[in-house]
């Protein structure tokens, strides 16, 4: 009983800002600064969502974000699966050193390499294009690490049995290994999706003078800046941008928790 009370209190504390964001996005601007703040919009102004959508060009930005995120997630899955399989099942020279190098990349903050990355990407001609937004992030040390742990869980006997049946590496990977580590794959997808969707600094620097590849995070910041005192419109824009994440959270709740705690176990 006590557990439920505590959990409910915790839920209220965590969800309250989100609830207030929705409430404020539906209030007319004059009511937002009222003291005490209204807890329910009795006169919901749905127009603010309309305004955020059109004035913030959110349709274009959401599309760009969707493309960018899908490419990054797909890329990270593919490269992580292949690298993790290699580290788990193959023997090759300098394996341990290479794995160490992979782990080292996790320890370098992204901001340290931004200037060099930007120069490299621009000299490749990828400034203000989708490749510029996505290719630097197609491989990740975290994903490799996570999936290697998952692959190592597969019993040796299964591998040997497959070898007896004449399965080569690729077939074993596709038919046996991947289905077995599906939870870890889902966890990695969710983690990558969150990371890619929420990126701000890199898209800000790589996008140029038009709306071709600007993502929704930049679009939101622009909306907030251009709408200034119209807090309801800014909040409406933020809610619209957060909806895909909320859907993801609800559908993949279990995997998300697993991915967040994966570093803690074993």
């Amino acid at each position: 009983m006590l557990r439920y009370i505590l959990l409910t209190l915790g839920a209220i504390v965590v969800l309250f800002p989100l609830y207030m964001a929705v409430v404020n996005s539906l209030l007319p601007p004059s009511e937002i600064a009222q003291q005490p703040p209204p807890l329910f919009p009795f006169n919901p102004q749905w127009g603010s969502y309309q305004k955020a959508w059109t004035e913030g060009n959110l349709s274009i930005y959401l599309r760009n974000s969707a493309i960018q995120t899908t490419v990054i997630v797909a890329g990270q899955l593919i490269t992580s699966i292949l690298a993790a399989y290699a580290f788990a099942f193959l023997e090759f020279p300098f394996k341990r050193t290479l794995f160490f190098v992979f782990l080292m990349t996790l320890m370098i903050p992204f901001e340290v390499t931004i200037a060099t990355n930007l120069s490299t990407v621009s000299s490749l001609g990828w400034f203000n294009t989708f490749p510029g937004l996505t290719i630097p992030f197609l491989a990740t040390g975290f994903g490799t690490f996570l999936l290697r742990q998952a692959f190592l869980q597969i019993p040796r006997d299964l591998r040997e049995a497959a070898q007896l049946d004449g399965y080569g590496h690729l077939r074993f990977l596709w038919a046996v290994a991947i289905p077995l580590v599906r939870p870890a794959l889902a966890a990695l997808s969710v983690f990558s999706f969150l990371g890619a969707w929420n990126q701000y600094l890199w898209p800000l620097l790589v996008t140029g003078n038009d709306n071709q590849v600007r993502t929704v995070q930049i679009g939101l910041k622009r909306l907030i800046n251009t709408q200034l005192d119209q807090i309801n419109v800014s909040l409406a824009g933020t809610i619209i941008a957060v909806i895909p994440l909320l859907i993801l959270l609800v559908v993949f709740q279990k995997q998300l928790v697993r991915s967040l705690t994966s570093g803690a176990v074993k």
């Binding site: 038009d210 910041k221 800046n225 251009t226």
Partner: protein, 262 residues
């Protein structure tokens, strides 16, 4: 590896057509060519340079003007573009002044710089140090542009070592709002609002003791700097320090640095 784009006095023509608005920013010409440094002799930015350039010259103008200011700027730009065919200004709306500066700095590494950029006053020295901007002085000299209709104080704010580095554009001034009803209730005269910092503090104390709130300050460096500049307390010299008297560190009873406000 820099792109070489030469954009010149067209920027100044835009400046001539533009009006002063009321936000907090300045505008500087920037060109990503390597002939930069501070040429103030009016050799780069001249009408003949404009004639020699292939028209229409395309200018990317990075700006982050909020709401009505942004709309006004768009209208001005449209009317400028339609009034002549030599220069076309392309407004690129950035997310915020701070982000514009970040993007500009990133652009120094890959040559993706704008032709005209709107930066905050706090970024002026940084822009000079980047050695990538063409001072407005060059265009002023080259076009024999008269800056007489601009406020001297606004001009001087972006004048470094007698060189007009940037043109004031959409310069903000903080304003003081006071609640007339609260004034009445606290026994103050609503037709006589405070005109000096000293009076401001005294009135705020009266308002507070009458339960009418007091004074709300936005602790943003720009606000403090502007208020001090307005009160002519911006730079500290021995004379002003002496006039100010011993200043106690921030305490709850006496606001620091305001005791000798004029």
């Amino acid at each position: 590896m820099r792109n070489h784009r030469f954009r010149f006095a067209a920027a100044m023509s835009l400046g001539a057509a533009a009006l002063l608005m009321t936000a907090c920013s300045s505008s500087g010409s920037s060109s990503s060519s390597t002939t930069t440094a501070s040429t103030t002799t009016g050799t780069t930015c001249t009408p003949s340079a404009l004639d020699k350039a292939t028209s229409p010259v395309n200018i990317n103008f990075w700006e982050s003007m909020p709401r009505a200011n942004g709309e006004t700027l768009q209208k001005l730009t449209d009317s400028f573009n339609s009034s002549q065919t030599k220069v076309h200004v392309n407004l690129v709306v950035q997310t915020s002044y701070a982000d514009t500066w970040q993007k500009y700095q990133a652009g120094l590494t890959n040559g993706q710089l704008p032709d005209v950029v709107q930066l905050q006053d706090t970024d002026t020295q940084g822009a000079i140090d980047s050695q990538s901007i063409l001072p407005a002085q060059d265009c002023i000299t080259g076009f024999h542009y008269s800056v007489g209709d601009l406020l001297p104080r606004a001009l001087s704010y972006w004048n470094v070592d007698k060189v007009q580095v940037a043109m004031p554009f959409a310069v903000s001034g903080p304003v003081l709002y006071f609640n007339k009803l609260a004034f009445q209730k606290a026994g103050l005269d609503p037709t006589k609002p405070p005109t000096t910092l000293k009076e401001l503090v005294a009135d705020a104390k009266k308002l507070k003791s009458a339960g009418q709130g007091g004074m709300g300050l936005k602790l943003d460096p720009w606000y403090l700097e502007s208020e001090l500049a307005t009160a002519n307390q911006l730079s500290s010299t021995t004379a002003t320090d002496a006039a100010r008297g011993p200043v106690p560190p921030c305490s709850t009873t006496q606001p620091a640095h305001r005791s000798s406000g004029t």
